[in-house]
Amino acid sequence: MIDNIIHAALIMTTPVLLAAIGGLINRTAGLVNIGLDSMMLVGALVSFILASSNGNWIGALIGAGLSGAVMGFLMSLCVTRLSANEIIVGLGFNIVAAGLVRFFLKSTYATSGTLSLPDVTRLPRWDIPLIGDMPIIGAIFSGHDILTWIAWLLVPATVWWLARTRPGLRLRAAGAGPKSARALGLDPLLTKDLSTVFAGFMAGLAGAYLSIGVVGIFNEGITAGRGFIAMAAFYFGRNRPVMTAIGALLFGFFDALQIRLQGRGIPAELVQTLPYVVVIVILTIIAITSRKSRGAKI
């Protein structure tokens, strides 16, 4: 039972964490990415089609990442070169991508909503001998696929990269003080562009995890707002990778919990709103504590 929940929670965490790390880098460079959900959706579709036609999951992952990256690049151009408001552009991208995907499904596959293709190669799951048989530890470390490993390994990697490397420091500088960064000869706009491309790539991978990692089917509602949950996760973590990961894990846990709670008399519709309620509660707590620490009255 506990093993099951841990395993399910980790599975639910992976796509959120992947997208959240991308969004974290993006926001650190100064762009709040509300379009993550659209990049996830397109990544899910592209990887699904590639995994069916080529039978090669590596190619499918690369395709998903690249398609997300292209969308990220386009979105960034709107924000950095056309000075469009990032929030509106992000929401616009979500609407356009959802429309494009449904348009494409109808006009190419003559299907609405769900696409099922033959011979979809799923991401292989890696069972670790010995550890896999242990309780709890087995559920944590064994039976996961490459994307789950990438997601979690990226957490310490991001901490190190942001704090200890030259490009990491430059990224933070460009986000924190675009004018000063420009004075130092850095290009804040280019930094924003690159960080959005990265965020798109990660969101594309997150989408691939949903379509060829978890279920092996594509549905227009496959992301179920996880791009927004990822956004909530990096807001929750206030751009710190470890806290962001904890945020993602929290949402993964609630996601897994709501599936378990279904059919136990607790209405599914209400439990599904839990992650969103949690975001609001957490943002409120953060706001109150940061006010208190500044000594201000509420």
Binding site: I88, G92, L100, E269, Y276
Partner: protein, 353 residues
């Protein structure tokens, strides 16, 4: 500098043409990009656009259904604009549409013994109150604790959809109904039709009144002036003694109330009950309406009619040709993106949002 020395008439011409061009350019660009999508899918974009125009404005009846489709968008556009003016990025109107729609339907099927003169206004009032209450928490968090309203209002959309879905599947499910819908509202609670054989109803009149009130409010009232100052420069507004957080809170509630009306009018005028999946994104299209109309009452009215035309004609052309209706969503999203893009040659400083 050149504009200062140039003769006055030229300047006046530019002043008239610029907003028009600024509104038309996003639409034109969106039509071009969506046209490429259509070409790739093997359709002739010019033919599709011709059909869209004919289907939305080709006859009195079609114009009526265009105006009917524009009705909820007028409300959601105004609702969004009210919050935007104050500098609050309220993207939570979608949630208000849902709770407002449910509240109006609830009154409409519960107090069926009341006469229409009382029941209908009561139901409409309920939708505004519900929408406004829905914004209390995000409004409070934004104004008092400075919690990012984009995130909270976005999250509240998901919560509203979940909450209303639960209510119409459980406590408020119509007896004997299989799908998630409330009972039908009483005849007395229905908004009267304006035209026989079309969906155009008195809700459109209320929407027009709402736009006019918005215009008067923004132009002639102190509150309207204050919101504009607070939105343009909150520090200046604070320095002149305005209570900016209080103003933001009030305007969040007002924008929620108007968003709730969108749902109420849709429930009482078209659907006659609340069903799960009640709003096909009226709240989000409202953002596009507000942006394209640049928060200007008349501009938003035109933008709402444009999007209403797209929605109603999109549904018809899908019936009679193999062009998927999603081309409408693609156009809406593109317009939204380009409406906030600043193209060098039209660049203007100090624009809202």
């Amino acid at each position: 500098m050149a504009t200062i020395v140039s003769p006055a008439p030229t300047r006046r011409n530019i002043a008239v043409l610029k907003p028009l061009a600024e509104a038309l350019l996003p639409v034109a660009l969106s039509l071009v990009l969506a046209g490429i999508v259509l070409i790739v899918a093997g359709h002739n974009p010019l033919e599709v656009y011709r059909m869209l125009v004919v289907e939305s404005f080709g006859s009195g009846k079609r114009i009526a259904s265009t105006l009917s489709a524009a009705t909820p968008l007028i409300f959601t556009g105004v609702a969004t604009a009210i919050a935007f003016r104050t500098g609050a990025f309220n993207v939570g109107i979608e949630g208000c549409v849902n709770v407002g729609g449910l509240a109006a339907a609830f009154v409409g099927f519960t107090f069926i013994s009341l006469s229409g003169y009382i029941l209908l206004p009561l139901a409409i009032l309920a939708s505004a109150v519900a929408g406004s209450l829905w914004m209390v928490i995000p409004g409070f968090l934004k104004s008092r604790l400075d919690v990012e309203e984009v995130v909270t209002t976005l999250m509240f959309n998901f919560i509203a959809v979940g909450l209303t879905a639960w209510l119409v599947n459980g406590p408020l499910l119509a007896p004997g109904a299989a799908n998630s819908a409330t009972p039908m509202i009483a005849d007395a609670a229905r908004l009267p039709k304006l035209m026989r054989g079309s969906t155009l109803n008195a809700g459109f009149v209320i929407a027009l009144a709402c736009v006019v009130l918005y215009w008067l409010w923004g132009k002639w009232t102190a509150l309207g002036f204050e919101t504009r100052i607070a939105g343009m420069n909150p520090r200046f507004a604070t320095a002149t003694g305005m209570n900016v957080p209080g103003l933001v809170f009030k305007m969040m509630l007002l924008s929620g109330a108007v968003g709730g009306l969108a749902g109420g009018v849709h429930a009482l005028g078209n659907v006659y009950r609340y069903v799960s999946g009640f709003s096909p994104g009226y709240g989000f299209v409202g953002i596009a309406v507000a942006l394209l109309g640049r928060g200007n009452a008349f501009g938003m009215l035109l933008a709402a009619v444009l999007f209403g035309a797209l929605a109603t004609s999109g549904a018809t052309i899908q019936l009679f040709s193999d062009v998927p209706i999603e081309i409408v969503n693609i156009l809406q999203g593109l317009v939204m993106i380009f409406a906030v893009a600043r193209f060098g040659f039209f660049a203007r400083k100090g624009r809202a949002a």
